[in-house]
């Protein structure tokens, strides 16, 4: 064995919309894992809430025939990320493992990246984050607590990726599929979110994100940002019936 420094990893995620119930467990898990500041009603009203993963809710149809649609959305870790070239200090870049990385100590808070992100997945710290005393010991020691004035976003829980890779190095093996998962994936009760190494053709995520998957799509695909997160369309039984009846 030699100590590995390079991996054949490309971390990707599949979001199966059909399974999502909109329970927001992923949102809570992410908040806890990544020391995301607490959002108050006031902050929400200013549209300055920080949520590395959010459930976008859409209403479809007219009352009484209303359906709620949920779309879990997080940083898409675009292969051709619009946020990266606009950073004047190289605080955001693409690493070898397909992650769109935000380096907090380089960031000077120009917010160009957030401006350029078509998914609105980058968040600016408008205030110094504060936690109540009771949550003091809840902060994750593996994740930086971000200061006022810098950008932050989903990292695919890079601290967990690193931990899995370190364990793999020690045990002289590759990182196994499904060995670890980001907090949101771990918390998801319905298996909506699937995470893994898409360079490994046998991994679950690679199987699900195959280009010939009938339900596959990516967010704002026409923009050509090559997102690393693949969505699987909702299977809607009602729509089928309507199509059969020929009425709306």
């Amino acid at each position: 064995m030699t100590v590995r420094t390079e991996w054949d990893h490309k971390w990707s995620m599949v979001v199966d919309i059909d399974r999502c119930t909109g329970c927001q467990a992923c949102v809570v898990a992410c908040q806890a894992e990544n020391n995301v500041p607490i959002n108050t009603e006031d902050i929400f009203k200013q549209s300055r809430a920080i949520e590395w993963i959010r459930i976008e809710r859409y209403w479809e149809g007219e009352f009484p025939d209303v359906k709620a649609r949920y779309l879990p959305a997080m940083c898409q870790h675009c292969g051709n990320a619009p946020c990266e070239p606009v950073c004047p200090v190289y605080a955001t870049y693409h690493n070898d493992e397909g992650l769109n990385v935000q380096v907090y100590n380089r960031c000077i808070g120009t917010r160009f990246c957030a401006n350029n992100c078509p998914f609105e997945m980058r968040f600016f710290n408008w205030w110094q984050p504060v936690w109540p005393e009771s949550l003091r010991n809840q902060l994750n020691p593996d994740v930086t607590v971000r200061n006022r004035g810098i950008m932050e976003k989903c990292t695919f829980c890079v601290q967990r990726i690193r931990r899995a890779e370190r364990t793999a190095i020690q045990e002289e093996r590759d990182v196994k599929d499904g060995e670890f998962a980001p907090a949101c994936v771990q918390a998801c009760p319905t298996g909506t979110l699937v995470f893994g190494n898409s360079n490994d053709p046998n991994s679950r995520v690679a199987q699900l994100m195959k280009s010939d998957h009938p339900r596959r799509y990516r967010l704002l695909e026409h923009l050509g940002t090559e997102p690393n997160v693949v969505y699987l369309k909702k299977v809607d039984p009602y729509l089928k019936e309507e199509a059969h009846n020929g009425s709306h």
Partner: protein, 211 residues
């Protein structure tokens, strides 16, 4: 009058230069040892590494046992100190503890942790993990590692802690282990980390440490 202006001017320039030198030195290395800046932090119990390492011959890993498996080297729990200090009282008589060891006994009786002060400080925003460094430095040379004993690896960054009565962060520019001279951990600044990572072709991706 002109002389007064000149003297005041020169004095203020000198002051600015002094302060700048102080700040720069503290930023890039260790601070000057004046006004208590370079002094080690006061610990709740005067713990001598010399007695444990040099006199008793205890391996670093016996107490800092998480160092080969986890991010933190970990300071041992009070209970672990009491493995030995149930018997070793410091006065040679059972039940009669010396002043410093009495504090340990008290903490153990009250089931309280000891609030040790942190000695080694990395710059902000670094998520340092001990374990991969131990893994690499203890790996035999023919497998691409450095081939040190686990206890020898510590001094690359921490200096010879075994000979310190009071532990202190030191600047290690060079360290001699078993006849070979290695680059030391310096003042544990980013340049020191990156130089070493480059030398041993360890990853230099930002997100390895900064996340």
């Amino acid at each position: 009058m002109k002389i007064l202006v000149a003297v005041v001017g020169l004095a203020s320039v000198a002051l600015v230069v002094l302060v700048a030198a102080f700040v720069l030195r503290a930023w890039f290395g260790a601070p000057f040892d004046v006004l208590g800046f370079g002094a080690p932090p006061a610990q709740p119990i005067a713990f001598p590494h010399t007695k444990h390492v040099q006199d008793a011959g205890i391996n670093c890993l016996f107490c800092h046992r998480n160092v080969t498996t986890g991010k933190a080297a970990t300071v041992p729990a009070v209970e672990q100190c009491m493995f030995c200090h149930k018997v070793i009282t410091g006065t040679g008589q059972a039940g009669q503890y010396s002043t410093e060891l009495a504090k340990l006994k008290q903490a153990s009786d009250n089931k309280e942790p000891i609030n040790w002060e942190r000695v080694h400080r990395m710059p902000d925003h670094v998520r340092f993990a001990h374990e991969p460094h131990l893994t690499f430095f203890t790996l035999p040379k023919d497998k691409g590692g450095v081939g040190l004993e686990a206890a020898q690896v510590c001094q690359v960054c921490h200096g010879d802690v075994g000979s310190m009565t009071v532990v202190q962060q030191v600047v290690v520019n060079e360290v001699q282990v078993g006849g070979t001279v290695l680059r030391g951990g310096g003042a544990l600044k980013m340049a020191d980390c990156v130089n070493c990572h480059r030398q041993y072709s360890a990853p230099t991706d930002c997100v390895i440490c900064h996340h």
